[in-house]
Each structure stands twice: as C-alpha cells, then as structure tokens.
Amino acid sequence: MLETIKLSKSFKGKKAVQDVNLYLDSGESVGLLGPNGAGKSTTISMISSLIKPTAGEIKLNGVNIINNPEQIRRILGVVPQELALYEALSAYENLKFFGSIYKIRGNELDKSIQRALEIVGLQDRQKDLVKTFSGGMKRRVNIAAALLHHPKILILDEPTVGIDPQSRNHILETVRMLNKNEGTTVMYTSHYMEEVEQLCDRLYIMDHGEIIASGTKGELLSILSTEDTIKVQLSKMDDRFVTQVKSIEGVRKVEAANTNLKIIAKKGINLVSELVYLSEQHHIQLINFHTENPSLEDVFLHLTGRTLRD
C-alpha cells in the first residue's frame, strides 16, 4: 500500500536518513526500531509529508505522492513524538479543535471524539485540563487526537517515551486493538525493543540513518543463529581480563557493565574452560554463568556493536 524508495534527507549537508526502502501492507503492524538519532522521526516526517525528502520516492498504491500529499494526509493519522496538545484546554476541547480542523462538524464530531476517548480510555476525564494529566494520560490524548478522522494508516512516533509501565501497557494494548480489531495499518517507532517485539508483525532496524536489517522477528533472530549469547557475573571487573576474553578465538563481541559480561561468540565453541582458566589467572571468581536465547537487542548489538540505549 505504502512504500518508500531510496528515501534520503540531509539537513544542511548532514545526512539524517539515507536510502531507506520500506513498505507497509494494508492491515500490517510494522515496527521501526533504532536508537535516538537514528533517523526514525525524520523518516516518519517524510512519509507523512511534513518535510520534503532530499531524494527518493514515496508511493501510495504505486503513485508518487511527494508533490501531492493530500491523498496520504487524508488516510493518515500521525501521533507525533512530542505532545502536540494545548495544555490549557481540556481533553475534550483539544479533540474538538483537532477534529474541527479535519472539517468534522456537529454531531459527527462529538461521536468521533467520544469514540477516540473510549479507545484510549479517557472518557471519564474528558472535561479535565490536559495540564492536570499524568504523562501517560497526555500521551493517550496525543493518540486520540490522531484517531478523530478514522485514519487507515496510523503512524506512532515513540508514543511511550517517559511514562510509567502501566500507561505503557495500556497504550500498547490500544495500538494492538486498533490493528487487530479495527484493521488499522500501524507503523510504530520506538527505541524499546520489547515494545516492537510484542506489537509488530514485521520490523525495520535503523541506525545512523540507514535500515540495517528488516524482517519478521524470527527472520531477524536467525541472523544470530550462528552465535551464542553468554552472560557471566564476576566477583570483580578487570579490564585486562576483558581484553583477554575478547581475544579468545570465536568470541565476536564483549560488553561489560559493572561486574557483568555479555559475550557473543560463535555457536558451539567451548568458552567455559577458557573463562575458568583466565579468571583464575586474574584472581576473579565466576559467580554466575549462563547461555541466553538471543533477543532483538542482541541482533542490534551484533549489527552495530552497540546497545539500543547507548
């Protein structure tokens, strides 16, 4: 339904997004995962026609829409990363305003508002001013404001940043419901791997403005099928020890945090004896040792050498 071809954007010569190819099929739920500054918001802004790409195409049902964005705007709901609301107004008044700019009027407007409020679970607080809301409730109004015109495609840009786990679950549940029950096509960006993992059928991993991997969760994890992730807890941390672990044959990456080590190594090599030998040399005890099932976090680590939250 919607696809981008070699989509690129530079700000004053600095590349923010480069050659991004992605697509969205009707009814899908697609994740865009990447650390801060990866270019997720810029990509979304281009897709939603808020900024013009430096190069590339955006096609809606095969038609390039960069120079006539009205078509996509009509079927698109965008939940921006920032809280695009009037804090001094009530939830209801905010929605009334955002509905009225979509030319929804009178009875129909009121019905749309009540439906949107119901979806995000704020019907009983609609008369309260947004500035009295918690962070999570504000995020929910932010979502409701994008639902008033019944969009076919809903794009959410980090809708759970900085809120409590309960609100976060509520929002994830809402998005899942919109996708599964209402048939809304969803594009969800986040730098929380768990969210995208839970919610999305398919995902794109973005870093430094480029898509570095894409596919279903299973497909992405299979990238790691040749690797094991081993977690080790030590009695103390020692840099020379870490350096030596890194130089063990078959070890691809080592991450150190406090007294914990995360080691990614070629499948099947026998690390245990090597680690025991090295730790004795450095007078370090191995407190805990286990092999983990790889997660998308590990995929990211594998692809970039960094964690998502760096």
């Binding site: 939603s48 026609s49 808020l50 900024i51 013009k52 009205e70 705007r73 009509r74 698109l76 965008v78 921006p80 990363q81 920032e82 809280l83 695009a84 609301l85 009037y86 001094a88 107004l89 008044e93 305003f97 955002f98 009225s100 700019i101 979509y102 030319k103 001013l129 404001a145 015109h149």
Partner: protein, 366 residues
C-alpha cells in the same frame, strides 16, 4: 480559520486574568507616568527683578497655554521651599527675557516643563528680534492674524504656541502607553505561532485539510481582535470612567489604532520568521518594543527628536505614524482625509512585514 480562533479564544478564556492584567497595565502606566491628566503638573513662576509683578504676569500668561502644566505665580521663597519639600517638581525663575529652572531632583516631568518653557521663551525672543528689525510694534498681531487664516491650518497652529491651547502631553503619553501595552500583548499572541510549531500542534494542522491561509489568518485575526478589544476597553475606561482627554472622535481614533495593531502584528510576524523557539522571541521582542516609542518620540513633546537617522528609523515602525495621526485628530480635529497618509503608511509597513514574515516562517519548515 474559525477553528484556530476558537482554540486561541478558549485558551484565553481559561486565563482571563492575563487580559485584565494588560488592561490594568495600560491604565497604571498612564497614571504613573502621565501623572494624572486631569490634574496638570503645577509649576511655580516667580521673579526676583525689580518689576517682578509685571514680569511674572507677562510670562504667566504666555506660559499657561498648555493644559499639561499649570503655571502659578508665587513668591521666590515659597517657590524654593515647595521645590525643596517636593510639593512641586519644578519652579521657573523668570527675568525680562530669560529664565532659570529650579529643581530638587531630575524627575521625568522636569524635562517636559523645560521643553515647554524653552519653546515659549524662544518664540518670544523671535518676536522681539522681528520687532526690533522692523521697528514695528504690531508684528505680533499681524503674525497672529496671518496664522489664523493660514492655508495649512495644522502647521499654522503648530507654529504659534497660542494656537494650540489644547495640546496636552498627558494625552500623548496616554496613547503612547496604550500602544506600548498593545504591542506587548499582540507580540505574546503572535508568539503562539512559534509555540504551536514547537509543540507540534502546527504540524497537526499542516496534516489536516485546513488551508495555510486559514491557519495564518486564524492567528492574525484572533490577535487583532483580542488586542483591539483591550485597546477599546482601555480607551473607553479613560474617556467615560476616568474622564481623561482622549479626543471627541473615538471612531477615527479606533480606526487609526486598528491600522496600528495590524501593522505591529505584521512586524511581530516578521520577528517570528527569524526565531526558532518561543523563548528566542521573548528575548528579542521585549527588548525591541520599548525602543519604538522612544525613537518615535512618543514620550516627548512633539518635534523634540530631530536627528534624521532616528526619525528615519522611527518612520519604519507604525508607532510614529499612529501617534502623528492620533495627535492631529485629538488636538487639531483632523478628519479621515487628513490622516489617510498615516494610515496608508501603516498599511504598507504591515503588508511588507507580513509578506516577509510568512515567507521566512514557511522557509524554516523545510
């Protein structure tokens, strides 16, 4: 456009104190600095010459032509005492042809009084010079009768101090403060454009079917209406409740004010075009605005500013044109035709600034 205006109005309805504060600011500033217009500044006149009563009487009459100041003859001792004790701000010690100002401290009123006295004495000196040169004792009355029938009445009255019995610096200051406060108010409202751009509300509007022209005109028209509301309330309070002199032709005055407000909204939009955040606007706008009445000479007697550079700068802002027009309506009974030029200049400034401003704002989006 209506939706945008509705949202702005709802926000202000939640915060009516804000507008009341602006109305109060106009009134308080005027009372503080214009010193209560109905009670003109008292100035003592005295002389220590031999024929003091005669000299005092002559200057007393010549000086008392302006309802801003009330000159009163007192004894030299009382004058000095009153100035020392702060009962009055200024006293004038007059001689046959010259004067000396007696003050205790540099109050704002002092320079107004001094400007006025200086003008009267200079004019008298000119008459004397003419009389001496021509040996004609009737120069003064000839001059006056010529001026009464002069082809351009406003200028003629300006030349002759006795022809402007109504001029009142207090009234001028009143309008200067009303406009100053209006400029702050409209600036804050125009800054909502930047606020909404930063918050993302602007982007929501871009994505909606609402037109760009509808968006801009929503903000501009709302700012215009709310600022005019404030100006109208303040002027009505001054005129009917506090009985200040604001002229008889309130309709024409409000027309001039509306051109001024539109023109300043455009300048605020132009500044908006240069800033990225509402905070940047707050750091630029309030430091520029108070300078406008200063260079426009709105706080001083007309004609005080003669530096051509300052006058040129003042002409770039609508305030000098608005003040010119208002003063000629209030004091010289000017009609719509007389102030047309000022109105057109304000319109021109407004259209140019608005065009540039919106252009800059749009360019920032890419």
């Amino acid at each position: 456009m209506k939706s945008v205006m509705w949202a702005q109005l709802m926000k202000d309805k939640r915060n009516p104190l804000f507008i009341l504060l602006f109305i109060a600011a106009s009134i308080v500033a005027t009372i503080l600095f214009a010193g209560g217009i109905q009670t003109p500044t008292m100035v003592a006149v005295f002389s220590e010459e031999e024929n003091a009563p005669e000299i005092e009487e002559k200057w007393h009459e010549l000086l008392n032509v302006d309802s801003s100041f009330q000159f009163e003859i007192v004894t030299p001792e009382k004058a000095r005492e009153d100035v020392m004790n702060g009962v009055i701000d200024v006293a004038v010690n007059v001689t046959e042809t010259d004067y000396q100002i007696v003050i205790a401290s540099e109050l704002p009123t002092v320079s107004f009084v001094q400007q006025h006295v200086e003008k009267v004495f200079q004019r008298e000196a000119q008459f004397r010079a003419l009389e001496e040169a021509k040996g004609d004792k009737n120069v003064r009355s000839k001059m006056n009768s010529y001026l009464k029938n002069a082809p351009i009445q406003i200028e003629a009255k300006g030349l002759d101090g006795e022809g402007l019995p109504n001029f009142n610096l207090g009234t001028q200051l009143l309008f200067a403060f009303v406009f100053l406060v209006a400029m702050f108010m409209l600036g804050l409202k125009v800054n909502n454009v930047t606020n909404d751009k930063v918050s993302g509300v602007w982007n929501r509007m871009i994505l909606s079917p609402i037109r760009k022209t509808g968006m801009y005109s929503g903000y501009i028209l709302y700012t215009f209406l709310i600022t005019m509301f404030q100006v109208i309330v303040v002027l009505i309070l001054f005129k009917y409740v506090m009985n200040y002199e604001v002229g008889d032709n309130l309709g024409l005055i409000l027309l001039i004010a509306s051109f001024f407000v539109f023109s300043m909204i455009s300048i605020a939009m132009l500044i908006t075009g240069f800033v990225k955040t509402p905070e940047q606007f707050y750091s630029i706008y309030p430091s520029v605005i108070p300078l406008i009445p200063l260079v426009s000479g709105a706080y001083m007697m007309p004609g005080t500013i003669s530096n051509p550079v300052l006058m040129f700068i003042a002409d770039l802002f609508p305030m000098s044109h608005a003040m010119d027009a208002i003063m000629s309506v209030v004091f010289y009974d000017a009609g719509l035709r007389d102030v047309m030029m000022s109105l057109l200049l304000m319109l021109l400034i407004g259209v140019i600034a608005m065009g540039l401003g919106i252009n800059l704002i749009e360019r920032r989006n890419q």
